[in-house]
């Protein structure tokens, strides 16, 4: 019995299609994240361009923008630094969306093993972003 070529080589036109969709998502994600960061950044310069921040001493534990909920609240209130942070969160979400899409692509092709592997990576990423 002959085995289909794609099963041996691991590369097929379906892989190519997945890669094209993934490429588009990555580009869009980075573009949107950069646009949000730029808008927030310009507002930030207008609001606090003349202040003198101190980054030499670490006070991260007191930062008001440490969770997704903090960021969402800040954006709703129109805070410039929260909008920048939302851009950062969108940027972090971009590769995560890529893994989610790849999971869907493997599931559609009934490639159970790789759907499972993708799901495992997704769980680890969700742990980092939501738990941590």
């Amino acid at each position: 019995m002959s085995v289909p070529h794609t099963l041996i080589t691991g590369h097929s036109t379906a892989d190519d299609r997945t890669e094209q969709v993934v490429g588009t998502v990555l580009r869009l994600g980075v573009l949107i994240a950069a646009a949000v960061t730029l808008v927030g950044g310009v507002l930030y310069l207008i609001q606090s361009g003349a202040t003198h921040p101190d980054y030499h001493t670490f006070r991260g534990q007191f930062s008001p923008l440490r969770s997704l909920a903090d960021v969402a609240r800040g954006v709703a209130a129109g805070n410039a630094d929260a909008i920048v942070q939302a851009g950062v969160v969108l940027l972090i979400a971009t590769p995560i969306a890529r893994v989610a899409l790849t999971l869907v692509a493997f599931a559609i092709r009934k490639d159970r093993l790789y759907a499972l592997i993708s799901a495992l990576v997704l769980v680890l990423l969700a742990y980092g972003l939501l738990g941590g």
Binding site: G10, T24, A34, A50, Y55, G60, F62, G87, V88
Partner: protein, 278 residues
């Protein structure tokens, strides 16, 4: 220095880092942390958080450009991302346990290694030997496009590659870098993938690895908007410009310039750490 001045200087520095990173294929992450700590006297925890954000930006941007060419191996990438994400989470936790000075020392050593590696010629380590049985089970062997049509390649020593990828993940999570050098080492040297496949798949994986620890850094307050804004946009602009210039440039000399710069930054960082400034 007021925010506006810092923002402009940071943007220009990040632009240069992104440009050089894209032109040498080594990413800008390795330069951002020393740039922030040595020139801008930023606490290394803020520097690492900021750098990690820029790493995700360049990786996703570059991966989007490479993905169409059919070099990257999705299965190898996804399998090894299990190792790199677990490593990245481990690294982010280690970063919370060790002193900033220790992080600076480890960073300096990794930078010296990067400087040394980047001067050495790139050669393929493909072999005609049998595939790893694990690679066959996991259907990792694939083809990549060449001038003479698709060429088949085999994947070897999967467990060794997986282990090295875990280390790459730890370094990425601890230091806020992409650790592309270790990723390529794992795929190219250990697993015998063609160089073009190693580099593009590595680029693909860097963003996912960095995203795993970036969330943890966000919760710890390592990522601050005032630094993330100019650095992320600067690195991204530099990387995009670099990708456009790449076909018209002779990169061998640039790699030497990059190596010397990275080595100098490494020495400076180590000196700062050992004299108690970090």
């Amino acid at each position: 220095m007021p925010v506006t001045d810092i923002t402009i200087l940071l943007f220009l520095g990040a632009l240069a880092a992104g440009l050089l990173g894209a032109l040498t294929g080594l990413g800008g992450g390795a330069i951002i942390v020393p740039l922030l700590t040595i020139l801008f006297h930023v606490d290394i925890r803020y520097a690492v958080g900021t750098s990690l954000v820029s790493v995700i930006a360049t990786s996703s941007g570059a991966a989007a450009a490479y993905v169409k060419e059919g070099y990257s191996n999705i299965r190898v990438g996804m399998l090894l991302e299990i190792a790199t994400t677990i490593g990245a989470i481990t690294g982010a936790f280690i970063a919370g346990l060790v002193s900033p000075t220790a992080v600076a020392v480890i960073f300096g050593i990794v930078l010296l290694h990067t400087a040394w590696t980047s001067t050495r010629p790139r050669v393929d380590h493909m072999s005609g030997g049998p595939s790893d049985p694990i690679a066959l089970r996991l259907r990792l062997d694939s083809t990549f496009p060449t001038a003479n049509g698709p060429q088949h390649y085999q994947v070897r020593r999967v467990p060794l590659g997986f282990g090295l990828m875990y280390i790459a993940g730890v370094l990425s999570g601890l230091l806020g870098i992409g650790s592309g050098v270790v990723k390529v080492l794992a795929m190219d040297r250990a697993m015998g993938l063609p160089f073009k496949v190693s580099t593009t798949t590595s680029n693909f994986m860097i963003g996912v690895t960095a995203a795993a620890s970036a969330g943890i850094y966000l919760h710890r307050g390592y990522i601050v908007p005032g630094l993330a804004f100019p650095v992320m946009l600067g690195v991204l602009a530099g990387a995009l410009a670099g990708a456009r210039m790449l076909p018209h440039l002779h990169t061998q000399k640039l790699r030497v310039v990059f190596s010397v710069l990275v080595a100098a930054l490494a020495v400076e960082l180590l000196l700062n750490a050992l004299t108690g400034k970090i």
